[in-house]
């Protein structure tokens, strides 16, 4: 049986296939050596990098919920200098396509980060994480405001000529499609949806919230329908590719994201418990091809 080509074009970049590891769980990529064959997947969206190293949040950082995982890592990372000089070259040497996730605390910080990125050879696709719920500054505050979001995207396109820019959006808004439209109009080459869903939990015995910051980010199968809905609505609003992420736990889940209109997908939390899942999705897609998007469903039974 002939194998389907899975090459996927996003902006100026061609990925060998549309299955990526999501930012956060993927670390800097090489941690999973031995558990999953990173050369088989389309790429790794790295841990979010900030200009200066970040320590992340104190206290509890992980808490399992029904079918989900709350995290409050707080964008702990090694900073741009160490990332670009050490972590990224190691990924590239291992034959892995890096998609570099970036975040900043404020505009000045953002400008310095993009300047550092501009001077780095080998980065041709970035994902702007303007939607992390676990930081005081620069996360959701930017990503929930269409004007600010557009300003950040436009600056990335202006500062980094030829760079493919994905804007990663938060579901913690009234209309995620409006944000996607703002990012597209500002020049984004693609939309990644979704970041984690804000949630909390309480330590019953201690009578206090589980997390020091109280609110944390929910991922895992519990958020999958929210992500699927976001991808569906965004892909009907913008013309640029949508990268679907949120709770993909099985090959079937991945297929649904393509049908909802995703051009590519990312596997995040599932890598923790099923690191072979991304490879299995790739294998299946090679056999079946990438499912096409559903058409206009307004006349389907049950639509409404």
């Amino acid at each position: 049986m002939s194998r389907h080509s899975l090459e996927t074009k996003i902006g100026a970049v061609t990925l060998r296939n549309p299955v990526l590891l999501a930012s956060g769980p993927a670390g800097y990529g090489l941690e999973y050596e031995g558990l999953l064959d990173l050369e088989r997947i389309g790429g790794v969206v790295t841990k979010t990098i900030s200009f200066e190293p970040r320590e992340g949040n104190p206290g509890t950082r992980l808490h399992e919920t029904g079918g989900g995982l709350l995290n409050s890592i707080g964008l702990e990372n090694v900073g741009a200098e160490v990332f670009f000089s050490e972590k990224m070259p190691a990924l590239v040497d291992a034959g892995i396509k890096p998609v570099v996730s970036l975040a900043a605390e404020d505009w000045e910080d953002y400008r310095m980060l993009l300047d550092a990125t501009a001077g780095t050879v080998g980065v041709d696709i970035i994902e702007l994480n303007l939607s992390c719920p676990n930081v005081e500054r620069g996360g959701m505050a930017v990503g929930t405001n269409p004007e600010l979001l557009a300003k950040y995207v436009r600056h990335a396109k202006d500062t980094l000529p030829g760079m493919t820019v994905l804007a990663k959006l938060t579901p913690n808004v009234g209309d995620i499609a409006a944000l996607a439209l703002a990012a597209e109009e500002a020049g984004a080459d693609g939309i990644t949806a979704i970041n984690t869903v804000v949630g909390m939990d309480i330590d019953l015995a201690a009578r206090r919230p589980v997390f020091k910051r109280i609110r944390a980010g929910l991922s895992g199968p519990a958020v999958m329908p929210i992500a699927l809905d976001a991808v569906w609505r965004i892909s009907r609003t913008v013309d640029i590719p949508v990268v679907g992420v949120g709770g993909i736990t099985s090959i079937a889940d991945a297929m649904k994201f393509f049908m909802a209109g995703a051009a590519a997908i990312q596997v995040g939390t599932a890598v923790f418990y099923d690191p072979a899942l991304p490879e299995r999705i790739v294998e299946t897609l090679e056999e079946t091809g990438i499912p096409g998007p559903l058409g206009d469903c307004s006349r389907m039974k049950g639509a409404g």
Partner: protein, 267 residues
């Protein structure tokens, strides 16, 4: 090199109302492991529980992998009651640092709860390669029923037991018992090895450990990835330039307790 394996349960033993010994056939190709390393089990293929659960290796022979499982929630409950023949997804061995042997010198081991497992693995490993001198175990549990002395009686020269309710041995926790032994001149000098709840290790690191040449501890934590990627299980470690965050899963599990910045560590 770590990997993904399928382990078949070949023997189980209920040790107490909550604690179980689960013995797996050593999976084909499963690498050698050292004391302080752990495996991460995907207990069901459903999404509840979602994450893998980490378990210290209690013993690894040519044919068997032993884990000590205490029922504390849904995951451990399912695993503890899995029947012989059940096949479980095992990832590992994980952990970038391991306990160094005492090189034939005397050693004291302090275990709280399931922290007993890596202490047993250490004692057995070093007895096999003849690198262990006198080995005293100071071991605490909530009550007599949860004191799993029958599991490790032959692994140590002497077992000093403590129970919180005083139902067996010293009344109090393992740290208080260790302090008593030190005061009486019955322990101290060599390497102190420990594993248990973080509160236990924290209490020891400040006081009793000062009487030993080193205090090495295998830390426990909730974990997601097990390989250092997610940064979910970090601990602040003192360095020349200040404090850096290390992951328990891959920079540990074994740390020199004197290097941990206990003041900054908020669990």
């Amino acid at each position: 090199m770590k990997g993904l394996f399928t382990g078949r349960i070949i023997r189980t033993q209920r040790l107490s109302p909550l604690s179980h010994l689960i013995v797996f056939e050593r999976p084909r190709g499963f690498p050698d492991a050292a004391p302080g390393q752990f495996v991460s089990l995907r207990i069901t293929s459903t999404i509840t529980p979602l994450l893998r659960r980490p378990f210290s290796i209690m013993d690894l022979t040519g044919t068997e992998l032993h884990l000590l499982v205490k029922v504390v929630g849904k995951g451990s409950d399912i695993l503890a009651h899995s029947p012989c023949g059940a096949e479980i997804d095992i990832a590992g061995p994980f952990g970038g640092t391991v306990f160094p042997s005492p090189e034939k010198k005397d050693a004291v081991f302090v275990a709280g709860g399931t922290g007993l497992a890596p202490m047993i693995f250490a004692a057995r490993t070093w007895k096999r390669d003849r690198s262990l001198g006198r080995a005293d175990l100071v071991y605490g549990a909530g009550c007599e029923e949860e004191l799993l002395v029958s599991l490790c009686g032959e692994d140590f020269t002497a077992v000093h037991s403590a129970t919180i309710d005083g139902s067996c041995g010293f009344e109090g926790d393992a740290v208080a018992l260790l302090e008593k032994l030190v005061e009486e001149g019955k322990a101290g000098g060599g390497i102190l090895y420990s594993c248990g709840p973080t509160g236990m290790v924290r209490a020891m690191a400040g006081r009793a450990a000062a009487r030993f040449s080193r205090h090495l501890t295998s830390l426990e934590s909730v974990m997601a990835c097990g390989v250092g990627a997610c940064r979910g299980c970090t601990v602040p470690v003192k360095t020349d330039g200040g404090t850096v965050l290390r992951t328990i899963c891959s920079d540990g599990t074994v740390f020199d307790a004197s290097e941990i910045d206990w003041e900054r560590w908020e669990e």
